[in-house]
């Protein structure tokens, strides 16, 4: 599998990563090599093998729907890049 320039740009957009124009061919090269490595797993037949997402066969735990966390907005917002009146600010989305 080799990824061309436009595919790299498409993946970068899907992942919301700005990448420099001059780096695209390096990414295309490196990602293609990694995918080449990944595709060696096609050497084994996995027909009828069930996929596992997890090493242990876990089921999701349920808990009572109770409030267990306290509101710590001010503390958490100390890490925010830009806030105003308790809100996180981002560039205008709707004109």
């Amino acid at each position: 599998m080799s990824l061309d320039k436009s595919e790299v740009q498409k993946i970068a957009w899907l992942a919301r990563l700005a990448i420099d124009e001059q780096d695209i061919s390096t990414y295309s090269d490196e990602l293609s090599k990694i995918l080449g490595l990944v595709e060696t797993m096609n050497s084994v037949d996995t027909d009828g093998i069930s996929p596992i997402a997890h090493p242990l066969d876990l089921t999701a735990r349920l808990r009572p729907d109770e409030v267990t966390e306290t509101n710590q907005r001010d503390k958490f917002q100390q890490n925010a890049p830009v806030i105003e009146a308790g809100c996180y600010l981002v560039p205008k989305v709707i004109e």
């Binding site: 992942a15 990563l17 700005a18 490196e30 990602l31 996929p51 890490n79 981002v90």
Partner: protein
């Protein structure tokens, strides 16, 4: 004093031979003296460590506290520490002060352990050499031209140089065991779900597991006694009773059946290392263990499967870094889309971006079955390989890494070659098993680690074998020149 193990320091504190304040000051001085050359700490917690030490001394004076109360231990900078910078080795979190403690940190604080500093690491734990850190590479104390391994390279280097008597690490594909091997220390990756992941910055959630990096197996047992256990706040935490990990350390290993996978001793393994591992296994045989050749036929497939599963989970986990609520934000974003793309493009380093893109690709429409589903099927085969092996043997032994530490810059521009060097460690994470690396000798003056792999929740057995091995050998007592 700085060459003491956790067990020895515990006795020294208990008998009032030294106070926690004295001990903490001693290690802080070492950290400050050697960090310029080794770069193993991102943050040294001078003030808060001294305050914790004072409080530990008060606890001990009042007859309270436990085995590790008052002992300084370094924390990998992936664990959230309330009020202390938690960078995960990334520019993205360079300005992040964690607003809460990870469960591991909470438990260690409650046990009176002094958090001496936050150790350097590969960015978001993605790397095998500690060269992907935003804060620069860590150096191997055995030879500063060499890498310490990764991703827990700062922790491994700090313990090897005795800047901290022990440290925490995390292991997604070998990130505790491989640096432990390359730096000549003891590292334990517990069973998936044994140690809480709450507050541990997520890389690949179905593989990540925290654990101890220490001088000895006994010390790893002491640390496990503090950090292991069920946690309501971790949705995949194991509800399985916790052992007293020190209780069986001295048990006999007479009759223990050790499996030697032929795939771990093939042409990919450095011949000096093969010899040292064979010697290590002979030591275990002298203690009564019996060896048997086994097969783990899908070992070669673990790397490709891992490089689908781990990037897929990473691309999902790291989508939270969007420049809005915390972390790095680019200057003067034009619009929301520009804010996301440039904050992430500028905030993440190259290796992290590569893995996010691989993950986004394998999960994208039209490719999911060919990559992600296939990798999960292969994962099933790998888990079955181990379970078949454990029908015949008690533990599996082999090398931790294909070679000793490599030179700085030797592999950093060739990601695929870096990935392939993790062949003996990643399958353990895919299967979720516990495994250790213990010092087993030196090749060209660089340390070599022997890996012991156990069945689910058999950490006590691994620690027992490693402890008996360390009673019979002294590789784990070797200290790099200039740090004695």
């Amino acid at each position: 004093m700085h060459l003491s193990t956790l067990a020895q320091l515990s006795t020294a504190l208990e008998s009032r031979q030294i106070s926690s304040e004295e001990l903490t000051r001693l290690y802080l001085e070492r950290c400050k003296k050697f960090n310029d050359s080794l770069n193993c700490f991102i943050t040294i917690n001078e003030d808060s460590a001294m305050a914790q030490a004072k409080s530990a001394d008060e606890q001990r004076a009042a007859g309270k506290g436990s085995a590790l109360t008052g002992i300084p231990i370094a924390q990998k900078d992936i664990f959230c520490t309330n009020g202390i910078k938690t960078s995960c080795g990334s520019k993205m979190l360079d300005n992040f002060i964690a607003p809460y403690d990870a469960t591991v940190i909470e438990k260690m604080n409650a046990a009176g352990i002094v958090n001496i500093g936050k150790t350097n690491m590969d960015e978001f734990a993605m790397g095998s050499s500690n060269e992907t850190s935003f804060y620069g590479p860590v150096k191997n104390p055995w030879d500063k031209d060499y890498v310490p391994g990764g991703s827990s390279g700062g922790s491994a280097s700090a313990v090897a140089a005795r800047l901290s008597p022990a440290a925490t690490g995390t292991d997604t594909g070998g990130s505790i065991r491989q640096p432990a091997s390359l730096c000549g220390i003891t590292g334990l990756k517990p069973t998936y779900g044994r140690v809480s992941r709450y507050g541990m910055v997520a890389f690949a959630s179905s593989l990540d597991q925290g654990g101890p990096m220490t001088q000895t197996a006994e010390d790893a047992a002491l640390m496990m006694n503090v950090i292991a256990g069920f946690d309501q706040r971790d949705s995949t935490s194991a509800e399985v009773p916790v052992d007293d990990y020190t209780a069986k350390l001295n048990d006999s290993i007479d009759g223990l059946k050790i499996g030697l996978p032929k795939e771990y001793f093939d042409e990919g393994l450095d011949s000096n290392i093969a010899k040292l591992i064979e010697d290590g296994i002979k030591e275990l045989e002298k203690l009564g263990a019996v060896c048997k050749d086994i097969e783990l036929p899908n070992t070669q497939l673990s790397i490709p499967a891992y490089y689908v599963v781990a990037p897929a989970e990473c691309s999902s986990n790291l989508s939270r870094f969007d420049g809005v609520r915390y972390g790095y934000r680019c200057d003067n974003p034009e619009d929301l889309s520009d804010l996301y793309c440039r904050s992430r493009g500028e905030g993440f380093g190259k290796e992290v971006k590569r893995r996010i893109m691989i993950g986004a690709y394998v999960l994208s429409a039209g490719y999911y079955d060919a990559y992600y589903l296939k990798a999960q099927q292969v994962r099933h085969l790998i888990r079955d390989d181990f379970q078949n092996a454990f029908k015949e043997v008690d533990i599996i032994a082999g090398p931790t890494a294909t070679g000793t530490a490599f030179k700085l810059n030797e592999k950093i521009n060739d990601p695929v070659s870096m990935y392939l060097s993790d062949i003996y460690t990643v399958s353990v994470n895919l299967a979720g098993l516990p495994a250790m690396s213990v010092p087993a000798g030196f090749s060209n003056k660089l340390p070599v680690g022997m890996q012991l792999i156990g069945n689910y929740f058999e950490e006590s057995k691994l620690l027992n074998i490693a402890h008996r091995y360390q009673q019979a050998t002294d590789w784990h007592l070797q200290v790099p020149g200039g740090f004695e």
